[in-house]
């Protein structure tokens, strides 16, 4: 199984490569990718340096162009595909059907991966993308249980990549408009969820408050750890009770499922987190490299090392991890 790691910056890319990534993925410095953060992502010069570094170390490079172009931005997105092709990336990760069509016709030899933002949750959906745009690989949304992944994998016409570790989207990706409902930016339109520009922190007599476009997302008592106000992870009131009505602030961690994912023929595991630091990437990539190597050498006698879990928990949101939708009871 391939280890696919995020690269938000050149140092993060190098950290991933140095710590055993088989492939890294990056985006350009604009809203053509789903992690549009200030100070993050690559211009052509940096991308070229990164691709060169990765290739010299035997690591492949994918370019994510996985937001949805509107008519006024169409040329910016097609130009991003052209630039990725010119830079010599090993694959582009796309979501929009129009852009997939463009890439398939203009750059037929450049491998196309379907982004998680393409919302393909069944083998029928995968067949649609394969037949229409010749995708080679697809990243599955984080909403499927292990049994459902098994069913998709059994009949998938393309290679599959699944999320292994990092932030957990609990809504079907590519079709979540919660962020643009509260702010004016969403992952689809601007590559941003709960954008930093709309975040405000405030100490009040009731506690520390986090707001998104003035909407109270959470309020923390003394000693409570405060997290980024991703809107689906706030505490809200429903019928008089206040709780994490949508999801707790936890991270996805599928280390326990690694042997099963391998047995299903999953081709690659993906680490989320282009917004993370090089130190984080180094720790997470290194830990998953050890796990994948152990799986390859020990096969059925593979067991999860407690130290790996400790490392991953220590860098997780709120120090907590979950198997998410892979584990049916989570639902």
């Amino acid at each position: 199984m391939e280890l696919v790691c995020p690269a938000g910056t050149l140092p993060a890319l190098k950290a991933a490569v140095d710590n055993g990534a088989n492939a890294v993925y990056f985006g350009f410095r604009d809203s053509t990718n789903a992690r549009q953060f200030a100070g993050l992502n690559f211009n052509d010069q940096r991308a070229s340096e990164g691709i060169d570094y990765a290739h010299r170390h035997g690591c492949r490079v994918f370019c994510a162009i996985n937001t949805y172009p509107q008519p006024q931005g169409w040329q910016q997105w097609t130009s991003a595909v052209d630039r990725a092709a010119d830079l010599g990336v090993d694959a582009v990760i796309l979501a929009d059907m129009g852009l997939l069509d463009y890439a398939a016709r203009r750059h037929p030899d450049l491998p196309r991966h379907l982004s998680v933002q393409g919302s393909a949750t069944s083998y029928e959906a995968l067949a649609f993308y394969k037949e229409n745009f010749g995708i080679r690989r697809a990243v599955l949304p984080r909403v499927l249980s292990l049994d459902q992944v098994r069913n998709v994998a059994r009949q998938s016409p393309v290679e599959l990549e699944v999320f292994a570790f990092g932030s957990l989207c609990i809504m079907a990706e590519g079709r979540c408009y919660l962020s643009s409902y509260l702010t004016d930016e969403s992952p689809n339109t601007r590559g941003a969820c709960s954008p930093a520009k709309a975040v405000r922190w405030q100490e009040t007599p009731q506690g520390l408050e986090s707001r998104l476009n003035d909407v109270l997302i959470d309020r923390y008592g003394p000693g409570e750890a405060a997290g980024y106000p991703t809107l689906c992870k706030g505490r809200f009131e429903v019928e008089g009770s206040v709780y994490h009505a949508i999801e707790e602030p936890v991270s996805l961690n599928t280390l326990d499922l690694l042997p099963e994912l391998a047995a299903l023929g999953i081709r690659a595991v993906k680490i989320e987190g282009r917004q993370r630091s090089p130190a984080y990437i180094a720790q997470v990539a290194g830990t998953w490299r050890q796990a994948l190597d152990a799986l390859a050498s020990r096969g059925e006698s593979f067991t999860v090392n407690a130290a790996w879990q400790d490392t991953l928990a220590s860098v997780s949101e709120g120090g907590l991890t979950t198997l998410g939708a892979y584990h049916r009871k989570w639902k």
Binding site: M97, S122, Y177, Y181, F236, E237
Partner: protein
């Protein structure tokens, strides 16, 4: 004249409530009715055969009927239900997911894309138009400017497709494998006791400052404020929009349809549908603002001070 449609019922209603609703809708001035379960696989008050029979009845009443499909497809059982809908050839289908796209195309069934399909540019529409696409819904998060450019682009490409805009109701914003209603009741999703039946307008989710943010509806999350583009109907007609979609609610729907029918005929409605039902109004998406925002227009002055989820952007 601009057409009116009734979108699929997004809430979970009892079989009798559904029949009563469509019994009345048959008499309303709407041209198109979307029928079927678009949200949750566990909602089976009506079976496929029941929906087909209802579709035939409404067609006999002169309505154009479209069969809606589930928005989040997860299991083999979901695919079976989807294929069952696509096996008939009497009605086009509303495709709400790429699985449905594949099944409808393979069966050469005409289809319309629902508002949860990611149609953001003309190139995407051109791909689908070659394969049976008859009409499309604007994604709810897109506004007037994008719509105008999309319609212009369709004309430039010579593509004759019906353009539909979600114009009234709680906006469907997200779908998850988790059921938020079951979670609220501490019940497992697979044994949810069908609690959604007790919430025919969803569960209200508020901020801790009592601001209405969302409505939880099983696995789906809707807006806490009600989208209302009634006053934008004349503008839409001028732009070339074919159909305005109204999303079903149990109370006051006849009046809502009546107001929209009046305004498309050039008659200024006597009262706003906003005043009929309890939820703050919003229209931000239309103006390229946060969806929850309310941009005041002519005659809206009395609603701008509303204490709800539609504060200033």
């Amino acid at each position: 004249m601009l057409k009116l449609s009734l979108g699929p019922i997004l809430w979970f209603w009892s079989k009798q409530t559904v029949y009563d609703f469509y019994g009345q809708a048959a008499e309303w001035p709407v041209e198109t009715i979307y029928l079927g379960e678009a949200v949750c696989a566990r909602r089976r008050e009506l079976k496929a055969e029941d929906w087909f029979a209802l579709a035939r009845d409404l067609k006999a009443c002169g309505k154009d009927v479209v069969l809606s499909t589930q928005t989040l497809i997860e299991s083999e059982a979901d695919l079976r239900r989807l294929r069952r809908i696509c096996e008939q050839h009497d009605f086009p289908v509303e495709v709400n997911d790429q699985s449905a796209l594949q099944v409808a195309i393979r069966r050469e069934l005409p289809f319309i894309t629902g508002p949860s399909m990611n149609i953001y540019n003309v190139a995407t529409l051109a791909v689908l138009a070659k394969q049976g696409l008859r009409g499309w819904n604007l994604p709810v998060e897109l506004g007037r400017d994008s719509l105008a450019q999309l319609i212009r682009g369709l004309r430039d490409e010579g593509l004759a497709l019906d353009t539909e805009v979600f114009g009234w109701g709680f906006l469907p914003l997200a779908w998850s494998s988790r059921c938020f209603t079951a979670r609220h009741y501490n019940l497992p999703k697979d044994n949810c006791e069908f609690r959604c039946l007790q919430h025919p307008e969803g569960l209200q989710l508020r901020s801790r400052e009592s601001r209405e943010l969302f409505r939880l509806n099983g696995i789906s999350t809707l807006s806490g404020a009600r989208y209302d583009l009634m006053r934008q109907v004349p503008d839409m007609a001028d732009m070339g929009v074919t159909t305005v979609r109204l999303s079903p609610e149990r109370q006051g729907m006849a009046e809502v349809v009546e107001r929209f029918d009046q305004i498309r005929r050039g008659i200024a409605p006597a009262a706003d549908p906003l005043q009929l039902v309890e939820a703050p109004p919003c229209n931000g998406y239309w103006y390229g603002q946060p969806g929850m925002a309310l941009v005041p227009g002519n005659g809206d002055a009395q609603t701008t001070g509303f204490q709800g989820g539609c504060g200033p952007a």
